[in-house]
């Protein structure tokens, strides 16, 4: 699995998910929490079948323990986390597959774009902030760039996921809509 082309992120998610999957068999609250983590981890990797299975397992754990306000809150939180992670995963996969300029890409929230952007460029990215407030991140090796959501007039709010730098310019430019 190489979700976004940054092996460091893929490796971390993969290891955490596998550990959580094993821990999900532990009875009680530890297993329930681990199931939730496994659900989110699988969602990030695009394994939606496994994400739903572990999500249901987490919910069952909550229900078995007895429904309280905190439990319902935890279940809703887990659902939102899975949904958020799925959006981040969708953005990264679409950006990675894109070739050339794609000016109408998938829709995502601003927060999903920002998280996906950080993953897209990896650690130690170089940051530039424009006076308008938009942030531009260039990966350490210079091969990827992320431009944060900005109002682009007739196109509305968009963010950019760029890759494939040749002759000091990016050859792929994927626009995420907000």
């Amino acid at each position: 699995m190489d979700l976004d082309g940054n092996s460091w992120f893929s490796s971390i998610v993969s290891v955490v998910t596998k550990v959580a999957e094993v821990a999900s068999w532990i009875p009680g609250p530890i297993g329930t929490v681990a199931s939730g983590v496994a659900a989110v981890g699988n969602a990030i990797q695009g394994n939606m079948g496994a994400a739903l299975r572990y999500g249901a397992q987490a919910l069952a754990g909550v229900l078995t323990a007895g429904i309280g306000t905190a439990d319902v809150g935890a279940a809703i939180g887990a659902y939102k986390a899975v949904k958020f992670a799925r959006g981040v995963s969708t953005v990264l996969k679409a950006a990675r597959r894109s070739q050339g300029i794609v000016f109408k890409g998938v829709k995502a929230t601003v927060r999903q774009s920002r998280v996906a952007g950080r993953i897209w460029v990896g650690p130690l990215a170089k940051k530039t902030v424009t006076k308008r407030g938009s942030v531009r991140l260039v990966s350490r090796n210079g091969k990827r760039q992320y431009r944060s959501p900005e109002n682009k007039g007739a196109r509305g709010w968009q963010s950019n996921f760029e890759s494939g730098r040749v002759n000091k310019k990016y050859t792929n430019n994927y626009h995420v809509r907000h």
Binding site: V129, T130, K131, V138, Q145, R155
Partner: protein, 116 residues
């Protein structure tokens, strides 16, 4: 601390017609955004370009594409030679004079609202 880099780049805020062979394809607007230099953010100069292309499928018949590469080198070379390599497509540029550029800036680029 604000870094004003627009004055250092000869093509900042200029507009060109974009031509493919003999066919008019649209307009290119070049800008250099001001950047804020902080302890965590360096002051890399960007050359932003917005290409307004004729497209009858779009509501106002313009499709806006953008490009923003860190550093000025690649853009400088293309703009100086008036030959644009737009994600693999090759075009010629014909720079507009101030009067024509002002009209296009207002009518097509909505006074700078169409940005990269």
């Amino acid at each position: 601390m604000t870094q004003n880099t627009a004055n250092d780049f000869a093509f900042a805020d200029r507009i060109a017609e974009v031509i493919h062979g003999t066919r008019f394809e649209g307009y290119l607007h070049v800008t250099v955004p001001e950047t804020v230099k902080t302890a965590r953010a360096g002051g890399v100069t960007y050359v932003d370009m917005v290409f307004a292309r004729r497209d009858l499928d779009e509501s106002d018949h313009w499709r806006y594409e953008d490009r923003a590469d860190p550093g000025t080198e690649s853009a400088q070379e293309e703009l100086e030679t008036a030959r644009l390599d737009w994600y693999g497509e090759q075009f010629e540029l014909r720079w507009l004079d101030n009067e024509a550029a002002a009209k296009v800036r207002h009518e097509v680029f909505h006074d700078g609202a169409e940005r990269a």
